[in-house]
Symmetry: C2
Subunit: 507 residues, 2 copies
Amino acid sequence: MITEQSPNSTEKLRKNAISPTREENFPEWYQQVIKAADLADNSPVRGCMVIRPWGYAIWELIQKYLDAMFKASGHKNAYFPLFIPLKYFEKEAEHVEGFAKECAIVTHTRLQLDGKGGLRPTSELDEPLIVRPTSETIIGEMFSKWVQSYRDLPIKINQWANVVRWEMRPRMFLRTTEFLWQEGHTVHATDEEAQKETLDMLECYRTFAENYMAMPVICGKKSDSEKFPGAASTFTLEAMMQDGKALQAGTSHFLGQNFAKSSHIKFINENGREEFGWTTSWGMTTRLIGGLIMVHSDDDGLVLPPLMAPTQIVILPIYREDSKHQVLEYCKTLRTELSQMSLGGEKLRIEIDDRDIRGGEKSWEWIKKGVPIRLEVGLRDIQSGLVCVYRRDKLPRDKKFIPHVQFISSAADMLADIQTVLFKRAQKYREEKSKHIDSQEEFIEFFEQKNSGFVYTHWSGSDAVEDKMKSEFGVTIRCLPFTEASPGSCIFTGNPSKQKVIWARSY
Amino acid sequence: MITEQSPNSTEKLRKNAISPTREENFPEWYQQVIKAADLADNSPVRGCMVIRPWGYAIWELIQKYLDAMFKASGHKNAYFPLFIPLKYFEKEAEHVEGFAKECAIVTHTRLQLDGKGGLRPTSELDEPLIVRPTSETIIGEMFSKWVQSYRDLPIKINQWANVVRWEMRPRMFLRTTEFLWQEGHTVHATDEEAQKETLDMLECYRTFAENYMAMPVICGKKSDSEKFPGAASTFTLEAMMQDGKALQAGTSHFLGQNFAKSSHIKFINENGREEFGWTTSWGMTTRLIGGLIMVHSDDDGLVLPPLMAPTQIVILPIYREDSKHQVLEYCKTLRTELSQMSLGGEKLRIEIDDRDIRGGEKSWEWIKKGVPIRLEVGLRDIQSGLVCVYRRDKLPRDKKFIPHVQFISSAADMLADIQTVLFKRAQKYREEKSKHIDSQEEFIEFFEQKNSGFVYTHWSGSDAVEDKMKSEFGVTIRCLPFTEASPGSCIFTGNPSKQKVIWARSY
């Protein structure tokens, strides 16, 4: 028997834990959710953040799941230097007019006393070193040594690392000067094999985003103006945030032989002839955590899909001194029982919070941290044999009393249900905020709204249209989705169009 | 029934896979082992190395085991910025005469075309940034914000990160400009609790070194002149390499309130009074991989203790075209059966190497990579029902034929036996090369030998003696071992001594 208590009448009057709300000021709400969940802090270094344990534990889950998927598909991890010689960038610079790259440049290698109690840099380097903004060039240099024969191929390498791109307008997780990421780099003997790898990794990312992060994504190709410079084609996953903007959740690039040519990655093929390799690269970053926040969280703080929650069920003991022992022992039993249950092939992650702080304050802390299930355990609950259960995807006071044995056996299912609810909720939101549009007027009208969303239109491939939409409405083509490949005519030029594209404002 | 084949008569004449041998030239042997096992490569950036997949997989195992131990003892991971403002170093500089710090200094944040096809740094920073040589200061800054009350304590944080110390004489894994490490930083409410943490982490490191890396270590305290500047006391683990030198495998520092004072880490205690926190820090680095190589490897290359082997058993199919299918299917069955067996609570790591290269070449590759067990599977073995098994801790041609079923059920035990053999072998080597010495003459005589080893002597605490031994013999006090705490008199000064110390040359 399950007793359900409906939200009490004061519920409607209650204030939210996060101020401002999403509706009032989305960007500020985002910062406040991060702060309230102890995900990250600003650091004394402009643009760099400190990822606190709760935020880092989410990154560790991202790493764990993705890494297992990479390894299962035959990739191996390696580590390349943090510093890249300036001349590696000069190769690239030759081809890029008006080159200006924001990055961290190391020019000296020694600190000395300046005689006034301070320090000054000495030992200037002959050639400055760049702190890697990506490892493409230095990995290419190593690949050119490792690849000699078709027998050495494919090479499928991944690196987990920190990278630096100097940011003028930093935002936690979304745009920071230093960020953490993984970068996959592969070399193949044929065009087809490299193209397959590019799409396989996109599919790996989609699986991860949708099945683990409960974040619905649209897979597609970037337009030429949005693709990675030097790539033959760039593929992307685009997710919709709760302000209708798009976030690029990951990219996978097919580099053709372009990169092999500039890095001299050559091999002797089965017929004894020298050929350039075919390469790919693909990456996901700590920005995903920003996406996770903006897709699921609400006006009470972070909401975590169970598979991404460092703690999936938190147990809050409530006792007076005379019932302390009994309540705590009961909570430990609950933890032991729950820890034997599994979700997604792994044991549940359970925590007891026995800190000596007020009960209400403690509950709200866990709400703001987004833990999927919260149990409050008092003497009365023990005596009645019921567990008082709160789900983070419901209203904060919306509790159920579930018989102990029944709760233990159904806890993993309840977590799986929360995972599904969050995915479906995000998908429904995206669908409601997406529109197929056939006229310019309607297009303009759509993007004049606040928190507008995604627009599908036909487009004939004109860069000029893209430039105009970007400068006038701040709207770009997010991708040419795989699902929209039937012909029509461009709503801007009237020219024939091979497929619809998605337009949106973006992060 | 087990058929054993003794090494054949040509064995004694065979050349070793690594040239030079340990005896001929230990430092060069070390480099050649790294190269032959594909552990790492030099990079285009002086002092920085590329950690190749086989080397990085060993680092991943180090991370996995240590991380689990840290978490089990209540530590949480977090991430702090790569860059540290120069002024953080100035605090330290005030107290250090003749300050000179080798590090990477970032002075500019933008690259621009120089008009001659090249690039030059622009956008100079007002204050240079230092690439972290350690995160002590920036973590201290954050702790000073996070710690307010005794309720916030203890704080037990660990970080996995890359750090940079400009190296004039780099050596792969042992001394590189950039290296990977973990740094633990904790704050406690009392002296006792912080001291306990310091020793608990030392014990955690000892367990890891001895039980996982099969590397016997001596735990003890550093002398004042060898301790970390600013620490109240530094504890260390010292291991002996196969050239008799010591390698410091990890350190754990009790920082007293020194560090809390310079970083303003204060809290309100239970009585409402403000106090400084008591802090610790502790770390292990990629240098451990250098130690692993120098403790176990032989003149045929790397030797890996099974728990540290990315692949524990490699299966090498040997076939002609007409037996290919049958041999490969049999190998896959073997892999499936072996993968269900466990060592140290984890499934065995098995690989089939079916690359199209010569059998002899292939076998030697795996010998040089140090894989603990190698199976060679041909049609004849399948028909006889015997598995041809080579152990890396025996001579290269020393094989045993073991009945299939018996091998499967005993494979994990055989790996455990190799793990034990390697530990005991290293321990025996260390004991043979260690000597208790009671006179200066004998001390000098000992260290005049090549590959000398460890010396235990009484020592009364004089820095002058340490300085003299260092400059004259290149010998330092490695530690004051916990096991040698009975009194005597110093062999150099004749003064009373509280304990014996260990002297050695070191990495």
